[in-house]
């Protein structure tokens, strides 16, 4: 690799050729503020706060748009640079409403933080501020189905515009008018309609773009815990961070308050889609299954687990194990599938079913969302399951034919996913109605027509309630961590399955999820990614303060790269020297 060596604040730094001075400064442990620079977008050089002194250059330079060259001598903190930077901040704040107390970004806003660290203490501006659309939160206007826009707060970094152009592929946002009148807007004020719109909230460094979902719901200091996990919305497997609101056990309302993307170069880079970001409310909804239910002559009654499992055994015995079929959605994790595999041979057969939903996106998008709404089909294949005739499309024809001939006395449906994740269920309901399926057992998380019709209902856990692993379409084996506790008597799905295995006359040797993963690792160890399962560590809730202190100099750009919505990272002597080694453990310790 070609490298260049330059001097930054008296320290010699070697970086790969082609890096910008800003990246070199951050890589060497220094810091300059920045707004328009975003590692996932092209360089713009419009905000000017990243200016540094480079010797032999006549004027101060924007470090984000200057490539490193051999022998450069860069100064980031001379009085000249500091004074110039402070005046850039003064200009940025000339028209800024400074309504941080009512702004959704308050507490995690780079404009707040940097103005605090680098800006002048007071403004000398005497003229009234320029306002769009009125004052205060009244200026928040509709910006499409998911977003609100407050132009008064905008600092014209054009990140949102570049995101739409470069990543989404449909340049719906423009910078209209010019000079001080410039404003971010869409043609005919139609707003942003895109399945990637949520990312605009992340890229916006101020509170100009906020999501309707998270607006006024919580403040950074209200959700002091964050957990690194993954999205299970589709087969892409985006890396995410789940934010938990602090509240006493007895308080009403959701604990999971938002999901934000987490950097993973191979999978989702800095982004995630709106489905993964906003479609999580079902997890803590009223529609969750809280207790096992068994149908008797009196109707469907809530029962304790042991009685429900006895009922399962009785049902299996009555039907005969070989007349029992299993229907699994693509939301079952590796652990669950491995346990299922141990008694699959004793059943009449296992069939996979999932939803195929092509996503409307511009043809040239850089972030295509897969059509397969199942996070673990690749994992099922790797474990040796046969998905259907072609492995590429849902194929329940064999099962349906068997049901039609009356060969299926018991159908066991396993679906720990949201609505619709097991694909079409109408035919199951019809078959149950007509008596072709005598007994229907459903293991799931949400009440649905299927659970209404079921004879036995076993409540499982959603993806944020259990430590499980999934293999995405590109073969990355990834952990989804337990973020919140499951509601009611809901139990981890692999445990339910190992109890059900007993009804089929099998015994599952593994008694912990870790042991299941060990077993998978030794069985599939030759497939890339699986050997790591043996000693996989799951993320645990990390306090925001720890995040802050974990900001070792190498990671100070973190609010952009991994946790865009980090609480403030203060650069100053107040915290003493920043601990270098104290980073968040992403791997086992």
């Amino acid at each position: 690799m070609e490298t260049v060596t330059l001097t930054i604040d008296g320290q010699s730094v070697t970086v790969p050729k082609g890096k910008s001075v800003l990246e070199a400064i951050h890589a060497s442990g220094g810091h300059v503020p920045y707004y328009c620079y975003h590692p996932g977008l092209q360089v713009d050089g419009s905000c000017r706060v990243c200016i540094v002194k480079i010797e032999k250059m006549p004027k101060l330079q924007t470090s984000c748009s200057t490539a490193c060259a051999d022998g450069m001598v860069v100064t980031t903190n001379s009085p000249e640079v500091e004074a110039a930077r402070a005046s850039v901040f003064e200009f940025l704040l000339v028209n800024h409403p400074l309504d941080c107390p009512v702004c959704d970004k308050g507490g995690e806003c780079p404009l707040q933080d940097y103005a605090y660290s680098y800006g002048p203490e007071r403004s000398r501006m005497e003229f009234p501020r320029r306002v769009f659309d009125g004052e205060g939160v009244k200026a928040d206007v509709d910006f499409g189905p998911t977003l609100m826009l407050n132009r008064n707060r905008c600092i014209m970094c054009t990140r949102c515009e570049r995101f739409m152009k470069e990543v989404d592929g449909d340049a719906q946002i423009g910078v209209f008018q010019r000079g001080v009148h410039s404003e971010i807007a869409t043609f005919e004020e139609k707003g942003v309609v895109s399945l990637l719109s949520g990312n605009l909230m992340d890229v916006c460094p101020v509170g100009a773009i906020t999501t309707r979902d998270y607006r006024f719901k919580s403040r950074p200091w209200d959700n002091p815990m964050a957990v690194d996990t993954i999205c299970t919305g589709c087969e892409k497997g985006c890396n995410t961070t789940a934010w938990i609101k602090a509240k006493p056990e007895w308080a009403k309302g959701a604990r999971l308050v938002r999901l934000t993307p987490r950097f993973n170069e191979d999978i989702n880079q800095y982004w995630m889609c709106d489905i993964g970001r906003f479609d999580y409310h079902w997890v803590e909804s009223d529609r969750r299954l809280l207790q096992p239910h068994v149908r008797s002559s009196r109707g469907s009654d809530a029962t304790p687990w042991d009685e429900a499992l006895v009922a399962v055994k009785a049902a299996v015995d009555a039907a005969g194990a070989s007349h029992a079929r299993v229907l699994v959605s693509g939301h079952a994790s590796l652990e669950e599938l491995y346990v299922l595999k141990q008694f699959a041979g004793l059943t009449g057969g296992v069939t996979f079913s999932w939803r195929h939903r092509p996503k409307p996106q511009p043809a040239n998008t850089q972030f295509p969302i897969p059509a397969v709404d199942a996070p673990n089909l690749r994992g099922a294949k790797d474990l040796g399951f046969k998905l259907g005739a072609t492995d590429s499309a849902t194929d329940v024809s064999g099962l349906r034919a068997a049901v039609d001939t009356g060969a299926v006395k018991l159908l066991y449906v396993i679906d720990p996913g949201p609505d619709g994740s097991v694909g079409d269920t109408e035919w199951i309901l019809a078959a149950k109605q007509s008596g072709k399926i005598a007994t229907l057992i459903v293991q799931g998380v949400l009440k649905s027509a299927l659970t209404e019709a079921a004879d036995i209902v076993l409540p499982g856990c959603a993806f944020v309630e259990k430590d499980v692993t999934f293999t995405n379409a590109t073969g990355h084996v990834q952990p989804a961590s337990r973020v919140i506790t499951p509601p009611g008597d809901a139990a981890e799905d692999w445990q339910i399955l190992s109890k059900v295995a007993v009804a089929f006359g099998a015994t599952v040797a593994q008694t912990t999820a870790a042991a299941v993963r060990q077993a998978i690792a030794s069985e599939c160890g030759s497939t890339p990614g699986y050997s790591a399962l043996a000693d996989l560590a799951f993320s645990r809730p990390v306090s925001a303060r720890q995040y802050m202190q974990a900001s070792n100099p190498m990671e100070r750009g973190k609010w952009d790269t991994m946790f865009q919505d980090l609480p403030p990272i203060k650069f100053g002597d107040d915290f003493g020297p920043l601990p270098r080694a104290d980073v968040i453990p992403l791997k086992p310790v």
Binding site: V141, D142, I173, G174, T211
Partner: protein, 200 residues
């Protein structure tokens, strides 16, 4: 869009107040203009087709007198960029008009050199003479008055742009003469730009 959960937030209370360009009548490029546009586009590499956006906007403006939202849509379709990108350009440049304008468009420069030489007073005089404020059009549709930024002839400030021509060294007291001249002799009454003359 197939997915997006209902996220209503105080619907109706939060509408943008941004002034939109006139929607205008349905707009279709004439066959002749379309041919010209294709010719201009062919001068750029295929993947840089959008470089022709200014030329396309001029064609649209010449055809209709101003650039309506419908015209922007037609330009976007012809250049194969998004409508937002077109409005981005239209709203940036003062030579594109987003609503109908008069026959003569008077643009007074208000940037530094002209401002120091009394451009503001000239604008005041023109407003008085024409009986309109900046940004407006006279009732007979003969004149529109705008303030613009530097016209690039600063050494003969204050400078006024009339349609596609310059008129230099304008003092406030010349306002009446300028308007009368335009009414009687049209563009012939203008001095033109000395820069153009000296270099041609």
């Amino acid at each position: 869009m197939s997915f997006h959960p209902l996220m209503d937030y105080g619907k109706g209370m939060h509408q943008s107040q941004r002034a939109l360009a006139d929607e205008g009548p349905a707009f279709v490029f004439t066959a002749e203009n379309l041919a010209t546009l294709e010719d201009i586009c062919s001068r750029y590499p295929a993947e840089r087709r959008k470089s022709a956006v200014i030329a396309a906007l001029y064609l649209a403006q010449r055809q209709q007198g101003y650039i309506s939202r419908n015209a922007m849509k037609a330009v976007a379709a012809a250049i194969r960029i998004s409508t937002a990108e077109v409005e981005d350009v239209v709203s940036f440049y003062t030579m594109f008009y987003q609503r109908p304008v008069g026959k003569n468009i008077i643009q007074v420069c208000r940037t530094l050199s002209c401002a120091l030489n009394g451009a503001e007073r000239l604008t005041d005089e023109l407003q008085k003479v024409l009986g309109i404020s900046t940004g407006e059009t006279t009732a007979d549709g003969a004149f529109s008055l705008f303030e613009v930024e530097c016209l690039g002839a600063c050494d003969r400030a204050p400078v006024v742009g009339v349609n596609d021509d310059w008129h230099e060294c304008q003092r406030p007291e010349d306002a009446q003469k300028l308007v009368d001249g335009l009414r009687t002799k049209g563009a012939a009454s203008l001095t033109g730009c000395h820069l153009h003359k000296e270099h041609s």
